[in-house]
Symmetry: C2
Subunit: 314 residues, 2 copies
């Protein structure tokens, strides 16, 4: 067995190669940037490989993506048709819940205003609803969304979810499909976005969607939290919505272009919190150990829950 | 029955009088700032009344404090010796947990650094431990402390508690008494303070205590979160500890002097988050309804869990 480690050429693959060599047992570890025997490759571990990097591997059995999102990978028309797996690890889920909970509480407890008051040494107590008076909506109720939903419900928020299927999730009001989106938005004060990027979801976070959020809530206005993918959002619409009050605030971890260019007008907006795609960074050691376990399970013929359905894109 | 509503003279008692009149059923509601028949007063609802305001009430049966902290009240040597109750309501507990969870996550997820980066349009991903690698210590494991502990544990932190007695709390490692303080601090990366202000706890948050916090954690340094009482802290020591790295960050909601004067050097410190004593503001309606219920239960001879022990001060 030989594992090909393939990443975009501008990435530093060396630390990843080193981890796979250390944790990979008797698997041979191959570096896609150097010459190697294509016929020897049985598995590939990849992160945004350059298009074509995985073509021409006659004995490839499976591809393992080093993250949860496979949109960049599926855009490569030369991608071999073997089983494709993505990362769903508990550490990544836990980190996403940390970030989402932090950002929801940050806006809910009016921290943009309190930090601005602190900057001018002003002592002013703002009217503050309780969590039980505020409705959070989770757009995308997969593994990550459900974990966030549980913690936010424990804190006291009214939490509902939306998913493509609208399948029941115990303990939460669920909405589903295109028809369910408008009623879901209409009852949502704080929108948490954890959708995958697919042909259907690209650009879904636009002016029209923001205008459908609740206008009758206890907060000054609706809040957007996006930790899904940058391609979900129309950034010009986010800025316009923040400026005209359609959105009262936003926290964004993902962008149409990453790194976000220094002259991008999102950076200085006072109602916007930006983090540089760090919401759910997992530790490299945890990811690599998980993939080594997945490869072993795959070779034993086990069914892995993180198999990507290429039709839906996640 | 007649309820005397007594507050510091510089406070606006009018909205409180109005709520008690609306929610108090057939109780007569008396305003301590105006002439009234002292012999008629059977109960008092108070918030930081001026010293002596409650003296000379021959038929007073009980005092109900409009908050959790009774330190200011107990400092009044003329306070009648009738049963004294404080507020422990679920809404107040829930709000405290919101604020504490927010502030713990804010420092843990390095938001002071990310906000500073955003201000200069800098995209830089910082090394981030997972919550399971970070130890939170709750100094004061009463009703509020236990609720915070539960939510922080669910998020993934290693949570332990300290209380005067060190009594067991299911699901948490507990430390107790003066002897238990040093080992508790030595295993704590993020210290959450929810102590009452008593003769023993006044000024406990000083340079010596900060120096006892863990130095071997995964965060850049220890973090202080104080939502208890301003009198617990030595503010000059907090500033010095932040400046010399003994503390890496702090969030403070309570101060030695409130409102915090505009020229106080705490305001502009870049590693310090200040909020104006709003961590656990409850809604006035909720508080008043709770006190009306408590008075009825007291008159039925029921035992109320929120009776203040004047020996311990809470």
């Amino acid at each position: 067995m030989a594992l090909l480690v393939a990443m975009a050429r501008h990435w530093d693959a060396e630390p990843w190669l080193e981890r796979f060599r250390r944790l990979g047992g008797d698997m041979e570890i191959l570096d896609a940037r150097k010459p190697y025997d294509a016929a020897a490759v049985t598995h590939a571990a990849v992160w945004k490989p350059d298009p074509g990097m995985l073509a021409g591997l006659p004995n490839l059995r499976a591809i393992f993506n080093l993250g949860a999102g496979v949109d960049a990978l599926l855009a490569d028309k030369t991608l071999p048709g073997v089983p494709l797996y993505r990362i769903i690890d508990p550490d990544l889920t836990s980190r996403m819940t940390e970030w989402v909970t932090l950002q929801v509480l940050f806006h809910f407890r009016q921290m943009p205003d309190y930090l601005a008051q602190q900057a001018r040494a002003a002592w002013e107590q703002l009217d503050q609803p309780g969590a039980h008076e505020v409705r959070v909506g989770i757009l995308g109720m997969g593994v990550l969304g459900r974990d966030c939903a549980e913690v936010l419900k424990r804190i006291g928020f009214q939490v509902a979810g939306w998913s493509r299927s609208g399948a029941a999730v115990e303990g939460f009001e669920m909405f589903g499909g295109a028809d369910g989106l408008a009623p879901f938005l209409a009852r949502t004060d704080i929108l948490v976005v954890l959708l995958p990027l697919t042909e259907t979801t690209r650009g879904i976070l636009d002016r029209k969607l923001f205008a459908g959020l609740a206008r009758d809530g206890r907060l000054p206005g609706p809040v957007l939290i996006n930790a899904g993918r940058g391609g979900l959002q129309v950034e010009a619409d986010i800025l316009a919505a923040l400026d005209d009050g359609t959105l009262a605030g936003a926290s964004i971890d993902v962008f149409e272009t990453e790194p976000l260019p220094a002259d991008n007008p999102l950076w200085p907006h006072p109602r916007l919190v930006l983090t540089p795609h760090v919401a759910a960074d997992s530790t490299p050691e945890g990811l690599v150990a998980g993939i080594v376990r997945d490869i072993a399970a795959f070779e034993r013929g086990e069914t892995l829950p993180n198999l990507v359905d290429r039709a839906t894109g996640y």
